[in-house]
């Protein structure tokens, strides 16, 4: 049963952000390991298995530059492993949890990104997704010899990069690997297609707001197991995309927990009637009472080291209160992504008290068994854009 096809009681899914030691910049001080052990395979294994056994439907992996104010004491972790690789490492260790790395669209090569994500879909057995980011900062640009990108440029870069990915993922039709011994053909060349992406053609009216580029294709890897990986886009970027159907899910933030369900409902209202609507995933920071300490005391202790500023709604309190809040938000959203303040502390409480209670209430969708991320989102297997074209062409011959 998927989130979108359930008609009796609305059921949602829960995602867990697993980056670093948690959402709080001082989380490393409350972690159950030596600081250097963060950057290891063992750490990924431990956290992703904890998330899967707790019953989370998805894990996400943030990426991008870390706080580079290196000479200031008290700063958070300055190290971060590549997100696609973290998700890939987690893949063979897990069976059901969906694995979604954040991948930049501004300063990356779209061809590499598409190949890496398709590969992640193969190693995870169809459990991969793409959390699109487009921050465009000067520091990120300088690393690759480019300058900052802002405003319209960000949405343009993101839209172009997503389109490249989607074309390349379709550039091998599902039946392209024929292995036909009789004819000696491993591939059916008629089922391979050039992506022929060009920013000039893709942005005809207003033009591409940066230096244009093209990508030829076909992909160097067959079509992903899911056909197309689900693409997740933050709401502020989504609002600027030239074609909203580029996104399969939108991540929505609100300034407070009280406003979160409202924000979700408003977005849903705006999307209604405008074609197939993307799933809506609400963003929530979480700090729970734990280990004899109140959540508020835990935040205060961490804030004393490094203040925590962040535009997301934040829940600070008991497990029972969080269950109520999540039930309310999940009545409006398709899913909620939790950002635990401290992974090693909060995930334990979520696992022990929050997910079981939500499951008893029937609020949560079942976890996937041999399913794909698309299944979780209620998306069918997508048609291949080139298959229809080819079959049309063959009919006209």
């Amino acid at each position: 049963m998927s989130a979108a096809t359930n008609t009796t009681a609305r059921q949602g899914f829960l995602a867990l952000e697993l980056d670093g030691d948690g959402a709080h910049p001082a989380a490393w001080r409350a972690a159950a390991h030596a600081p250097a052990a963060l950057l290891s395979g063992d750490r990924i294994r431990a956290t992703v298995l904890a998330a899967e056994s707790a019953g989370f439907h998805a894990a996400t992996f943030a990426d991008g530059p870390v706080d580079a104010q290196l000479s200031r004491p008290g700063v958070g972790a300055a190290g971060r492993l590549d997100a696609v690789q973290r998700a890939a490492f987690a893949s063979p260790l897990t069976r059901s949890i969906v694995l979604v790395p954040q991948v930049d669209t501004v300063f990356t090569e779209p061809f590499h990104v598409a190949t890496q994500l398709a590969s992640l879909d193969y190693v995870s057995g169809g459990r991969a997704g793409w959390l699109v980011s487009a921050s465009g900062t000067a520091a990120e640009g300088a690393a690759v010899g480019r300058t900052a990108v802002a405003g319209d440029g960000l949405a343009g870069e993101a839209a172009a990069s997503i389109e490249v990915g989607r074309r390349l993922w379709d550039s091998w039709e599902d039946g392209a690997v024929v292995r036909d011994v009789a004819s000696g053909r491993y591939l059916d060349v008629d089922q391979l297609h050039y992506a022929d992406f060009d920013t000039e053609k893709f942005f005809p009216a207003e033009g591409f707001p940066g230096a244009g580029y093209s990508v030829k294709g076909p992909a160097i890897i067959p079509r992903p197991l899911q056909g197309q990986l689900p693409v997740l886009v933050p709401a502020e970027l989504f609002a600027q995309l030239p074609d909203p159907s580029a996104a399969d899910a939108v991540l929505v933030s609100a300034p407070s927990t009280e406003l979160l369900a409202t924000e979700v409902a408003e977005l849903r209202g705006r999307l209604d009637g405008a074609g197939p609507a993307p799933a809506i995933i609400a963003e929530l920071d979480v700090v729970l009472d734990a280990r004899g300490q109140s959540a508020a005391d835990r935040v205060a202790a961490l804030d004393a080291h490094t203040p925590w500023h962040n535009p997301r709604a934040r829940y600070v309190g008991s497990a029972e209160g969080l269950v109520e809040l999540l039930a309310e938000v999940l009545a409006a959203a398709d899913g909620v992504r939790l950002h635990p303040a401290v992974v090693d502390v909060d995930v334990e409480e979520l696992s022990r008290l929050v997910l079981p209670a939500l499951r008893r209430r029937g609020t949560l969708a079942p976890t996937l068994v041999d399913g794909t991320f698309r299944d979780l989102l209620g998306l069918g297997r997508p048609a291949n854009r080139y298959t229809a074209e080819r079959e049309e062409g063959e009919r006209n011959e």
């Binding site: 409350a30 600081p35 290891s40 590549d82 690789q85 590499h112 190693v123 160097i220």
Partner: protein, 489 residues
């Protein structure tokens, strides 16, 4: 075997061999027509091959890369296995289901950014506990560049300078964190010690980098570097920068000559005679008896090069369709339509003099009485690199390599996926171990330890300096002309 197997120049043979396995993914050497041929993309194929190699104490699992799908006469090439996962993504997944084996990613310097590629390799190195390696390749053609924003912007000669500046920048990125940079406990004043991480800057002809590296050194300090260039410039590049050469010289005498040449170049580059190791590409066709092995070889060859592959191989040089020719008949009498074979198209024949070659080949085939199929099979079977025989016989032959120090090991391309290493691991490895020329356990936990490579010296500019520490490099380090093999591995 040559009379004089002495290497000289202070080189000390280790007396040992190491194996690597090369999962090719795109080539005519991997059989797909047999029922036991598995998937080229399913994770289980990769897992099985890597775990078999690890059971056989292989030093390394090696993945290739080609950044544009091969083409034949203007359309994707249909006859060979093709379509493979991204090397580093796959290796990161394999790192979770293996514990010892090295993980080698072929990655191109031309279509990557140094900061991004160095970061991802460093990430793989940490994830795997110090088992990552980079096989450095460069390509310069606009045909491949058409898949990239940055395009195919390098002049043929330029790519060599570009590659070395790239590798040196990567090394600086890997060396940018002091060993004690990360706090030893959660009570430390900060996660990273002040001034323990250096910014890396490079301003050059081809790219500029201004980057604060995001990862510390790994258990093996930094990824091991493989290199496959075979021209004089490529060999010099390897002598200066690489830890291991993935060579093309597996035949004993050629391997000895290659070793002597590399030792001389390595000494000239100011490194030790044993500092650069050599592992030639190779293929093993083994059985209990020599006769059975020969029979197996016939079977393998017939499946690698079928009638259509034989014709297609000639078409690459002739530049025209030859499907009306009988694969079991003589080579075409008509001439190639091109003066030179066109751009690489992923097949590695850049600039061959087509007409001249056609004349030569016709004469050669006529001389030896070979049909198209027989001729192409001989041309593509890498005669040098194939070891065919009984387990004991081949183990004896490999003993000669070990004693002389002709090579440090072999990088084996299995002709079947995923079962292609079973014979080697089950039968050849024990024979080699009995002869005392193959490890009986892993030499440690990192790839560098398995290969007994020296601990790398930190990049010269990477000694701790004060805040806002900058590592600058001016110019593109155009000290030397470098050659790096353009072949897409």
């Amino acid at each position: 075997m040559s009379e004089n197997t002495e290497i000289g120049s202070g080189f000390r043979p280790s007396g040992q061999l190491q194996f690597g396995v090369f999962f090719q993914g795109v080539n005519s050497g991997t059989i797909w027509k047999a029922p036991e041929a598995g998937s080229q993309t399913d994770f289980e194929s990769f897992r099985r091959l890597a775990q078999t190699a690890e059971r056989g104490l292989f030093a390394a699992f090696f993945l290739g890369e080609g950044l544009r799908l091969r083409e034949h006469l203007g359309r994707p090439h249909a006859l060979d296995v093709a379509g493979r996962p991204d090397a580093q993504t796959m290796l990161a997944a394999l790192a979770a289901v293996t514990t010892k084996i090295g993980l080698v990613a072929t990655q191109n310097t031309t279509y990557n950014d140094p900061a991004d590629l160095a970061h991802r390799l460093s990430s793989l190195d940490l994830l795997s506990g110090g088992r990552a390696a980079w096989n450095v390749v460069t390509t310069d053609n606009a045909w491949t560049g058409a898949n990239f924003r940055r395009g195919g912007y390098l002049d043929h000669a330029d790519r060599y300078r570009h590659a070395e500046a790239f590798v040196e920048t990567a090394k600086r990125i890997w060396d940018a964190w002091d060993d004690g940079a990360i706090a030893g406990s959660t009570a430390a004043p900060g996660w990273a010690a002040p001034d323990s991480i250096r910014r890396v800057r490079h301003e050059g002809q081809h790219y500029s980098v201004d980057y604060v590296p995001r990862l510390p050194r790994s258990a093996q300090h930094r990824p091991v570097l493989f290199q496959a260039g075979d021209s004089s410039e490529g060999r010099d590049f390897a002598a200066r920068q690489a830890d291991v050469i993935f060579s093309a010289h597996a035949k004993f005498d050629a391997a000895l000559d290659f070793r002597r040449d590399i030792v001389a170049r390595t000494l000239k580059a100011g490194r030790g005679a044993n500092d650069v190791q050599i592992m030639p590409a190779s293929e093993f066709i083994l059985a209990a008896t020599a006769a059975e092995a020969l029979e197996k070889k016939e079977w393998v060859r017939s499946l690698q090069i079928g009638p259509r592959q034989a014709i297609a191989y000639l078409e690459q040089f002739w530049g025209r369709e030859l499907s009306s020719y009988d694969p079991d008949g003589p080579l075409p009498e008509i001439d190639p339509v091109v003066e030179e074979t066109s751009e690489t198209r992923g097949s590695g024949f850049h600039g061959a003099k087509a007409r001249q070659l056609a004349d030569q080949w016709r004469a050669e085939a006529k001389d030896k009485g070979l049909s198209i199929r027989q001729f192409v099979s001989a041309k593509t079977s890498r005669v040098d690199a194939t070891f065919t025989g009984s387990y004991a016989e081949i183990a004896d032959r490999l003993g000669d390599y070990a004693r002389a120090g002709a090579v440090d090991g072999f990088n084996i391309s299995p002709w079947l996926v995923p079962s292609g290493l079973d014979d080697i691991v089950n039968h050849l490895v024990p024979e080699l171990q009995e002869r005392g020329i193959y490890p009986t356990e892993y030499g440690g936990s990192t790839l560098r330890e398995h290969l007994s490579l020296p601990v790398p010296v930190r990049s010269a500019d990477a000694s701790p300096v004060s805040a806002a520490s900058d590592v600058d490099t001016a110019g593109d380090d155009i000290r030397l002309e470098l050659a790096v093999r353009s072949q897409q591995l």
